[in-house]
Subunit: 171 residues, 2 copies
């Protein structure tokens, strides 16, 4: 059974929508998608780091469209691990585990990895929105489209624009 | 630079001493080392699981003798990752990160991995007290002696009885 390492932020959790919401609450204006495209998340939104550090940022993040249904199917055909960069923001650890429990209850605690660097991860396939994670990985790499990576050449990675495209590739 | 995956409970954190303390507080009697030898931790102590679930169990665990000084030296010669089974007890996540920050401040958030199963870990050397982790690992394996594994044949693993023996082997 092939092993897949699936990222959380920007793949399962729609952190951009969370940033858009919090930014709109703070400024009264909703940013356009264009204005944040091609810029890293924490630079794209004023006080981005403050938002990430605020209570419940990760706990209340919206779920990425179609991810629940398709990950559930992947979980039957692959050995799925959810691998999330979390230790930079210690408060996020318990929030992320609770969020997974709520939205992806078929993922057991044995399938969760909260880390800082993903270089230590051993799997056959990695789905991630960040080059810094995919570039070190020796297996098959799927670059999940997010505004920050939208303008970049995917290079050796296969770009997927949404979960339906993951379904087509892996199921 | 070779990568080492170092376990926390039973290797860096002296969880047995924590169990002995809590058990003595509850019963008024301190168990002997002999009475817990050869038995898994949670079975060796009455209410073992309750102790693990209690607040601050991991946060206030004593530090294993000589581990701070020797891990600090390893950290200069190896790529060190602290890999801890933590997601079974969600409350332990933040406690473990805070504990590492207090006792091993030279370990950055990038070097921490909190997971359920360690089969996903890729490294050259693993130091752990549990066969269930070492047996799946393809690199060099050091079995750190703890009462629960004391009576077992180390098999393909190299038994180390304390941090001084790790120092001799790896430094």
């Amino acid at each position: 059974m092939k092993r897949i390492a699936v990222d959380m932020d920007g793949v399962l959790a729609d952190v951009y929508e969370q940033f858009f919401r919090l930014d709109e609450q703070a400024t009264g204006l909703r940013k356009t998608l264009e204005s944040v495209t091609g810029v890293m998340e924490l630079e794209a939104f004023q006080n981005g780091r403050q938002h990430v550090l605020s209570d419940d940022f990760f706990r209340t993040a919206p779920v990425m469209k179609d991810s629940q249904n398709i990950l559930k199917q992947l979980n039957q055909q692959y050995e799925v691990f959810i691998v999330s960069s979390a230790t930079e923001f210690p408060k996020s650890l318990s929030e992320k585990q609770a969020w997974l429990g709520e939205h992806f209850p078929f993922i057991s605690w044995k399938q969760m990895v909260f880390c800082g660097s993903k270089t230590i991860v051993q799997a056959d396939i990695m789905i991630d929105d960040h080059f810094k994670n995919l570039d070190y990985f020796t297996g098959q790499t799927l670059l999940f489209s997010q505004p920050h990576n939208q303008l970049a050449d995917a290079g050796n990675h296969t770009r997927v624009n949404n979960w339906k495209e993951i379904e087509k590739l892996l199921l």
